[in-house]
C-alpha cells in the first residue's frame, strides 16, 4: 500500500489503516454522499440497474473470498444464493417472520449448505472441486423442487417486501438504500476479513496449501471457513434478490449465472476487494449495453443474430481479459493510483 509523496506513517495502526490521509477520507465521504443521494436525481431504471449491481457485488465478494482469496473455485455460487433466497422466502412468507431476522438466517443457512458441499474440499482441489460445486448447484435446485410443501416447488413462493415498522420498502429508492447499505457493510467486512488472520490463511492456502499446513494453518478448518463466509454472502445476496423480485422461483437461479459471477471476478481481478466491485459493475453494465445494442443492430442483421452477438460479446470480453489483462481491472486501477501517487517524485516503501 503506497501513499502519496510526503505522507509518512508514524505507528503500525496508521500503517494498517485503509483510509489514511484527508484526501482518502474526503473521497470516501464524497462517494458515500453521492451513492446515497442517487435516488434524488436518477430514474427508476438506473436505480434498478444499480440495485442489481449492488446485489451482484455482495455475491461476488463472497465468491472472491472463496475463490479469489482461498483459491477454492466454485461454479455453484448461484445454488447457494438460491438456498439463502428460499430460506428468507420461507421464513417470511410461510412462518411470518420479519425480513430483518430472516436475512441473517438466510446467510447462515446458505453458509451451512456451503459447509456441507465444501466438505470434499479437504481431499480434493482444482477441477475436482469445481465438479463438486457444479453438483452442489444441481442438487440444491432439485431439492428445492422436491420439498414441494415448504418451497412451493415449481410454483415458487410469493415474497413480501421488507418493512421498517409499518413502512414497506416498496419503492425503487427505498430498496436501493437497503441494498447499498448492505453492500457497503459487506464490502467493509470483506476488506477486514481479508486483511486479518483468516484472510492471510486463505491466501496461504491458495498460494501454497502444503506450506500453509506446515506453517500451522488448519487446512480443513480454513477451507470450510472460506466456504462458509463465501456462501453467507451468497445467501444474503440471494435473499435480497427474491425480496426485490417479490417472488422466489428456481428459474431465477440459472446455472450460467454462477459462471458470470466468476467472470466478474476475472474481469475485476481475483483476490482484490476493489476488483470484485469493478468486475460486478463492468460486467453488469456490459450486459445492459449489449441488450440495448441488440435491437439497434437488428436494423442491419436479423434480430436473433443481433441478440446472439450479446453472448459472443460477453464471452469475448472474458477471453480478451484473460489474455491481455489477466490480473483484471482492479490491478489496472492500482497502477493508475500508483502513477498519481508517485507523481512527481517516487517515494516508495
Amino acid at each position: 500500500m503506497g501513499l502519496r509523496c510526503g505522507t509518512f506513517r508514524e505507528n503500525y495502526a496508521q500503517d494498517m489503516a485503509i483510509f489514511r490521509t484527508r484526501l482518502h477520507w474526503g473521497v470516501l465521504f464524497a462517494f458515500l454522499i453521492f451513492l446515497f443521494t442517487c435516488p434524488l436525481f436518477f430514474s427508476d431504471r438506473i436505480l434498478t440497474v444499480m440495485t442489481m449491481i449492488g446485489i451482484a457485488i455482495i455475491s461476488v465478494h463472497g465468491l472472491n473470498i472463496l475463490t479469489g482469496y482461498c483459491g477454492q473455485i466454485s461454479i455453484g455460487h448461484v445454488g447457494f444464493m438460491a438456498v439463502g433466497a428460499y430460506t428468507s422466502a420461507i421464513l417470511t412468507a410461510k412462518l411470518g417472520w420479519s425480513f430483518w431476522p430472516a436475512l441473517p438466517c438466510a446467510g447462515l443457512v446458505a453458509g451451512i449448505a456451503g459447509l456441507i458441499f465444501g466438505l470434499p474440499s479437504l481431499k480434493i482441489k482444482g477441477f475436482y472441486l469445481i465438479m463438486a460445486t457444479i453438483a452442489a448447484h444441481f442438487i440444491i435446485i432439485w431439492l428445492i423442487l422436491q420439498l414441494y410443501n415448504v418451497t412451493g416447488g415449481p410454483d415458487g413462493l410469493a415474497v413480501l417486501k421488507p418493512k421498517i415498522g409499518s413502512f414497506a420498502l416498496n419503492s425503487k429508492a427505498s430498496y436501493f438504500y437497503l441494498v447499498m447499505a448492505i453492500a457497503c457493510l459487506a464490502t467493509s467486512l470483506a476488506i477486514n476479513i481479508v486483511r486479518t488472520r483468516a484472510g492471510r490463511a486463505f491466501v496461504a492456502i491458495r498460494d501454497n496449501d502444503l506450506a500453509a499446513e506446515v506453517m500451522g494453518i488448519n487446512l480443513w478448518s480454513y477451507k470450510l471457513q472460506a466456504f462458509f463466509i463465501g456462501c453467507v454472502y451468497a445467501g444474503v445476496a440471494g435473499a435480497l434478490l427474491v425480496h426485490y423480485y417479490g417472488f422466489a422461483s428456481v428459474d431465477q437461479f440459472p446455472f450460467m449465472d454462477s459462471v458470470w459471477y466468476l467472470g466478474m471476478l476475472i474481469v475485476g481481478g481475483m483476490g482484490s476487494t476493489a476488483g470484485a466491485i469493478f468486475g460486478a459493475v463492468s460486467l453488469k453494465l456490459l450486459d445492459e449495453l449489449v441488450t440495448i445494442v441488440g435491437p439497434v443492430l437488428s436494423k442491419i442483421v436479423a434480430a436473433q443474430a443481433a441478440a446472439s452477438l450479446a453472448l459472443i460479446t460477453r464471452g469475448l470480453v472474458i477471453i480478451l481479459f484473460l489474455i491481455f489483462e489477466p490480473r483484471g481491472l482492479g490491478h489496472r486501477w492500482g497502477m493508475i493510483k500508483a502513477y498519481f501517487r508517485l507523481w512527481p517524485f517516487s517515494h516508495e516503501e
Binding site: M1, G2, N11, Y12, A13, D15, M16, L189, A190, N192, I193, R195, T196, R197, A198, G199, R200, A201, V203, A204, R206, D207, N208, L210, A211, A212, E213, V214, M215, G216, I217, N218, L219, Q225, I229, G271, E349
Partner: protein, 272 residues
C-alpha cells in the same frame, strides 16, 4: 558432552515407502537440546523425506517420533506447527501473492486468537492483536535485514531474498525446533555467508536486542539442517547424521564424519 543435554526429538526406527520404493529404512536418531544437527547425504538419500516425516507431511509406515516425550508420529502438520516445529523448504514454498510482511504475519497465525468474525469487525480487539504481532514481525524483518522489501509481493523477489523471507516466516512461528532444508542451495558465497550468520544468530538468540520476541531473545532449542555445502555443515553443525539410500550410515561430530570411510565411499563411490 552428548549425554548431559536432554533429548528434544527422538526418532525411532522410521520406515517410509511409496508403493514399494523405500525412502527411509529403519532410521533412528536423537536430537538434543541446544544443538545444530546436520543431515547430509547424496541426492535421493531421504533427507527431505525425513524432515517431511518430522513435521507430519508424510506418514511413515513404521516407527515413531517423540518430541519432548510426546508421541508426534502421523500428527497433522498444522498441529505440529502449533507444538513449535517450523521449517523452510528446499524449493521455496512461499505464499507468492502476499507481501513479505504478510507472509511473515501469516506464520503468526498459530499464535493469534482472532477468528473471521472478530477479524471482520476489526476495530478494537483484532486491531490491537494485529498491531502486537506486527511489532514482532518487524523485529524479525529487522534481524534478517529485509526491511526494504517489506511491502513487496514475494513472487517478484529475487531468489536469495525469497530464501531469506522463508527463514523469516519460519521464525515467526516462534519454533522450538527449526528444520532447514538446504537453506543455501543455489546461493553465491556472499549470500551463503549472510544466511550462515543468520542461522547462528537465530540459534544463539540476541538477548536484549529484541526483548519482545521470545524466539529472537532466547534462541532456538535445536536446528536440524539439511545441506549439501560441506564447508558450512562442518563449520556450524554440532553433530552430523549421514543418510544413504534411506539408511543411516553414520553419525558423529564433524571431525568423526570427515574421516568415516563409509561416508567417503557413499560420497565418492565405492572403490573395490
Amino acid at each position: 558432552m552428548e549425554t548431559d543435554r536432554p533429548v528434544k526429538l527422538w526418532i525411532d526406527n522410521l520406515l517410509l515407502s511409496f508403493g514399494g520404493v523405500s525412502a527411509l529404512i529403519d532410521v533412528s536418531m536423537n536430537i538434543r537440546d541446544n544443538e545444530i544437527l546436520a543431515i547430509i547425504g547424496p541426492n535421493g538419500a531421504g533427507k527431505t523425506a525425513l524432515l517431511n516425516c518430522i513435521n507430519g507431511f508424510y506418514k511413515p509406515q513404521k516407527g515413531e517420533i517423540y518430541y519432548d516425550g510426546q508421541r508426534i508420529t502421523r500428527m497433522r502438520p498444522d498441529k505440529l506447527a502449533k507444538l513449535g516445529i517450523a521449517r523452510t523448504f528446499q524449493n521455496i514454498e512461499l505464499y507468492a501473492g502476499l507481501s513479505t510482511q504478510d507472509n511473515i504475519m501469516a506464520a503468526r497465525h498459530v499464535l493469534m486468537r482472532q477468528n473471521f468474525v472478530t477479524g471482520a469487525l476489526f476495530f478494537g480487539w483484532a486491531q490491537k492483536e494485529e498491531i502486537e504481532h506486527r511489532q514482532t514481525v518487524e523485529e524479525i524483518i529487522d534481524l534478517l535485514e529485509i526491511a526494504p522489501i517489506r511491502k513487496k509481493i514475494v513472487g517478484l523477489l529475487p531468489y536469495g531474498m525469497r530464501k531469506r523471507v522463508e527463514l523469516a516466516r519460519a521464525l515467526a512461528l516462534e519454533p522450538k525446533i527449526l528444520l532447514l532444508d538446504e537453506p543455501m542451495a543455489g546461493m553465491n558465497l556472499e549470500e551463503k555467508e549472510d544466511i550462515t550468520r543468520f542461522i547462528i544468530d537465530v540459534f544463539e538468540g540476541q538477548g536484549a536486542t529484541y526483548p519482545n520476541t521470545p524466539v529472537l531473545r532466547d534462541g532456538i532449542s535445536c536446528i536440524i539442517l539439511v545441506e549439501h555445502d560441506m564447508g558450512v555443515v562442518m563449520d556450524i553443525a554440532d553433530r552430523i547424521v549421514v543418510l544413504d539410500f534411506g539408511r543411516k550410515i553414520a553419525e558423529g561430530t564433524p571431525a568423526e564424519i570427515s574421516t568415516n570411510p563409509e561416508v567417503i565411499s557413499a560420497y565418492l563411490g565405492k572403490e573395490k
